[in-house]
Chain length 221, copies 2
DNA sequence: GTCTATAACCAGATAGAC
DNA sequence: GTCTATCTGGTTATAGAC
């Protein structure tokens, strides 16, 4: 028996050792950076954790910024793939909202690093490369667009972009706040119950039909 | 002429040069750490910015952790002093809520570093001293207690601690999410309008009297 | 693609004159 | 309390054998 922690597959077919190493580095770096932040995560930490020497890490990613860009890009892709699409099935608003919230809650629960990375690395502006800053904003913008489109579809706000923006900001800030809470209480999840009540009230406040608090089925037939 | 940036008062009476230097260091460190985070802020950066040599900084605070603890302690004191006390004046729920939200919005607007420091430094667990970790949790706990007490007073939830906890978590997560948003849009403020609607709806959902959406004055007399 | 070894540098922290 | 000068160790990054 070699070691208790086979972080990477040394005996894998030589064919794709490179791709496997690359993934191992990204896994380790994502884990460490989401926990300690970009600045506090060193190449030696990543090297020690994933078992590859620093030079291999540099061979794959070129620089610390390069690792960061790759980690963030992968996190963004994975999170956006897990988030529900804008086309939510459901006849009425409440039905669509419940489907939407269930998907969102699961996506944020299954990809806990997604937002944390954005948070811990958002303050990179210091010595980060232009590519790194661009990727941070790309990530953030993608989430904003997703939130606006989704909530617009759920509540039927295609002709009321301001209301859609408000609901999107509200939802994203709650999600970010939950990500923050998670590094004090690791088990914290997005509380969809209160969020559901809040979104329905906000929509009702904007006069969106089918969101009145009394009578869960909407307007009486 | 000496320099265009007199960051500290070199010609001040010798009497309290120490106290002034201490404050200057804390100001600079707070500014930098809230922008770049703890790990990315170096002693040399602080030294260059405030004009005092590294050894003076160490004389005042002993270590980088020491600076951090002092910065966070001062931020916590200032923020909690600016936040409204639990005893909110106002006859009915809506009145108290409006006073509360106005105070909170102003406190978070006038102390933009307060929460950012907590965010950027929350991930210090890596090589931080026990004192530093303790201060982070002290800060966070103080905010949690404040939120619970305040919202309990506003909505009259003394006998319903679970509802008070839920409203407190909701409010704090929105505030944290806003602090996060602020490092993408520096002008972002806590949006008390939607938060007001949401809190009223949550309270109504819990059956708190005086929070029904229709009829802003509460129950008809 | 992966390794050993190391260059060049900057971080946190200290010594000791004044 | 403040300064100049410096020590030590870790940091990013590279050279070059295999």
């Amino acid at each position: 028996m070699s070691s208790a922690k086979p972080a990477r597959d040394v005996d894998a077919p030589v064919k794709d050792r490179g791709a496997r190493s690359r993934d191992a580095i990204l896994d380790t770096a994502g884990e460490l950076m989401s926990r300690y932040g970009y600045a506090a995560t060193s190449i030696s930490m990543i090297s020690a954790e994933c078992g590859l020497p620093p030079s291999s890490i540099y061979w794959h990613f070129g620089s610390k910024d390069g690792i960061y860009v790759a980690v963030l890009e992968r996190a963004r892709t994975a999170l956006l793939a897990a988030l529900p699409p804008a086309a939510i099935p459901g006849a009425d608003v409440v039905q669509r909202l419940d489907v939407f919230l269930a998907h969102v809650e699961e996506a944020f629960r299954r990809h806990p690093h997604g937002l944390k990375l954005l948070l811990g690395l958002g303050m990179v502006q210091q010595d980060a490369s232009a590519a790194a800053v661009a990727e941070v904003h790309h990530y953030r913008d993608a989430l904003v667009v997703w939130a606006r489109d989704s909530l617009s579809a759920v509540f039927g706000l295609h002709d009321r972009p301001q209301a859609a923006d408000e609901l999107a900001r509200f939802t994203l800030r709650m999600a970010s706040g939950t990500a923050v809470a998670r590094w004090f209480e690791p088990g914290a999840v997005l509380e969809t119950g209160p969020l559901r009540v809040a979104l329905l009230a906000l929509a009702a406040h904007h006069g969106v039909p089918g969101t009145r608090p009394s009578g869960e089925g909407g307007s009486p037939g």
